[in-house]
């Protein structure tokens, strides 16, 4: 019995390491983005400690950027909470797909793990595909980004306006490359072009026409994700 437990442990551990390794290149993009955010937060008048607190507990680049846009002192708490709700509503969809990843986990372990669902490591986890100890793999992806984001924002804060334009080094393109690579990986494994077309086309339209909506940058993800899921549900109906 004891031996079985040890084997299980080392398997879980290696899944965790695999997740961390798979997510490491993504951390470079997050690092660049965090540096820029930290510099902006410093210019907006946030102290080092306040920024550390924000990055550690809000832990969401898009919501934090939007918060800077709305920033004043005293902060408009209700507006900030509402903006966060709208901008981060895409996490609702992402978390909805986490059941398969965290299968068999007790709720008490699931709940803290959900705090680490972000665009990048969620995407890495999904693109890696179903595997043994998928939940541990997810935690590995999460720990890398949770170590990176707050640290990067604090370095950006310390450096202030010294932080150069990320465009110059192509870092802005890193996110495009990451999401595109992961999308191609998923597409290779499960070929459902109708779902991709529905999602891509509606995301494009949402980006064109809903960019000024309160959902902001989150609108294409929500509209595209839901459109793709809707097509998948309709297809399942036809197959029966």
């Amino acid at each position: 019995m004891a031996k079985v437990v040890t084997t299980g442990r080392s398997e879980v551990w290696s899944a965790f390491i695999a997740g961390a390794a798979r997510c490491a290149p993504v951390a470079l993009g997050v690092l660049a983005y965090g540096l820029v955010f930290g510099a902006l937060a410093q210019q907006a008048g946030l102290s080092f400690g306040e920024l550390a607190f924000m990055s550690a507990i809000v832990y969401s680049g898009s919501a934090q950027f939007v918060a800077l846009g709305l920033w004043s002192v005293p902060p408009p708490v209700l507006a900030l909470a509402l903006a966060t709700l709208l901008v981060n509503f895409r996490f609702f969809l992402m978390a909805a797909t986490m059941g398969r990843v965290l299968q068999g986990w007790p709720l008490l372990r699931v709940l803290p793990a959900l705090a680490w669902v972000t665009d990048e490591n969620w995407a890495v986890t999904m693109a890696a595909g179903e595997r043994r100890h998928w939940g541990a793999f997810f935690l590995g992806t999460g720990v890398v980004l949770y170590a990176t984001w707050p640290t990067a924002t604090l370095i950006g804060h310390a450096l202030g306006s010294v932080v150069a334009d990320p465009k110059r080094w192509g870092f802005d393109f890193a996110f495009v490359a990451v999401f595109l690579t992961l999308a191609v990986g998923l597409a290779r494994r499960s070929r459902v072009p109708t779902v991709w077309i529905a999602s891509g086309a509606s995301a494009f339209l949402a980006d064109r026409f809903l960019a000024g909506s309160p959902l902001g940058g989150s609108a294409p993800v929500l509209v595209g994700g839901l459109a793709g899921a809707l097509v998948a549900a309709l297809r399942a109906g036809h197959a029966r």
Binding site: R22, A63, A96, G99, L114, W196, G224
Partner: protein, 98 residues
């Protein structure tokens, strides 16, 4: 640290976390229905594509050519770092050229 600033961040954190928990619980419910389950299974691909398309639409020729390089490499190489590095190098070079 200013108390009202920390309070604002706490509110943002609570909302952000609450969305994830609500989504997870909703996903569990959806799993019980075959159609919703099919929707849930395709949701990751749909979200990923919806993340990429607007980023690409906002780019120009340099970004599109670099994206083609990334997509081509990603199809054949099962390693994130290769298409990522190639894409970033390509976009820097292409922006310099165009």
């Amino acid at each position: 640290m200013r108390a009202e600033v920390l309070l604002a961040f706490l509110a943002m954190a609570a909302v952000s976390y609450g969305i994830r928990v609500a989504g997870f619980l909703a996903g569990g419910r959806m799993h019980e229905h075959p159609r919703l389950r099919a929707a849930l299974d395709q949701l990751p691909a749909a979200i990923l594509i919806a993340l990429v398309v607007p980023l690409l639409a906002r780019g120009g020729i340099a970004e599109w050519v670099a994206a083609a390089v990334v997509a081509g490499l990603a199809w054949f190489v099962d390693l994130l770092l290769v298409p990522l590095a190639a894409g970033v190098v390509a976009v820097v070079l292409l922006r310099g050229l165009i």
